[in-house]
Symmetry: C2
Subunit: 148 residues, 2 copies
DNA sequence: CCGCAACGTTTCAATGTTAAAATACCCTCA
DNA sequence: TGAGGGTATTTTAACATTGAAACGTTGCGG
């Protein structure tokens, strides 16, 4: 049994970049969401609230697409937000299969307070890279994201 | 309510890089783990198995540190692997607080078959970037990862 | 019009995840 | 020696996550 993995150069290179990408993402994300935990918001809850806050009411499948989660998941996340009075559900009148989700006044107030803090935390975390490096990272990551 | 978020240039830059980083990581990771799902392995299970396969027996807290998860979590992941006969638990004789986890022959055979496939999948996914770009991505991500 | 495929949502079971409390163990020092 | 502090693991509760199955609704083609 090898004590550590060794492969071809192209394997080592890809694996190294892959691991660092996942580490960076995991670190930055968990640091950024630490702020939210103090407000009793999970990452998914924040993502939903943020979409509704900045874009407007949406049905569940649109939300699912927006935040890259399955619909089965969203049912629970939205239900939990609903319990907290942060969003409302309303069955569409024209097509009763759709359920429209909207942010409440309470949710809006929460976001008005929390979003700027969260944003500044992200700026702070990303500032380990220079502006030019941030742009370069964005360019490289864009090539890897979501176009299967 | 703004239809879309607009901030200062430095906020937009950081946020854009942040979102792309998370998207890229999410996409690549879920694509890479798709292979494993066919083998009945979750990402965490694979990570544990891979560590034991390439490094050797370890106690739970070492494993937790290795794959960046909490110990409470590892208890479950290891238990599930144990059910499948892929790893064994053994309480340390010297210090009975420690539980050493080792990969079994069955687990080793599984990894011998699955790991190369998984690695090639990662190479394939990362090949949307040139070798130089992969190195550059690694460099940038290294500055963002885990040194709080 | 009717049957049926397609679609949006929900439910379910299994696993993962975390934080916090509980448990078990080791070691030191008075 | 035995009380207490520190450490490793497990348990627990709450939420997240996915895939699959179930349910209700809509719209289309025969």
């Amino acid at each position: 049994m090898p004590r550590h993995f060794h492969g071809t150069p192209r394997q080592e290179r890809a694996l190294s970049a892959y691991v660092k990408l996942l580490r960076a993402s995991e670190t930055v994300h968990s640091e950024a969401t630490r702020t939210l935990a103090g407000e009793g918001l999970s990452a998914s809850q924040f993502a939903v609230l943020e979409a509704l806050y900045h874009v407007g009411p949406m049905c569940l499948s649109e939300l699912a697409h927006k935040i890259l989660k399955t619909s089965g998941n969203l049912t629970m996340v939205v239900s939990n937000l609903e319990k907290g009075g942060l969003v409302t559900r309303q069955q569409s009148a024209e097509d009763r299969r759709f359920v429209s989700v909207a942010i409440t006044e309470r949710g809006r107030k929460l976001m008005a307070r929390v979003f700027p803090v969260h944003l500044e935390r992200i700026v702070e975390l990303m500032n380990r890279l220079s502006p030019a490096q941030q742009d370069e990272l964005g360019r490289l990551c864009r090539k890897l994201g979501r176009n299967l």
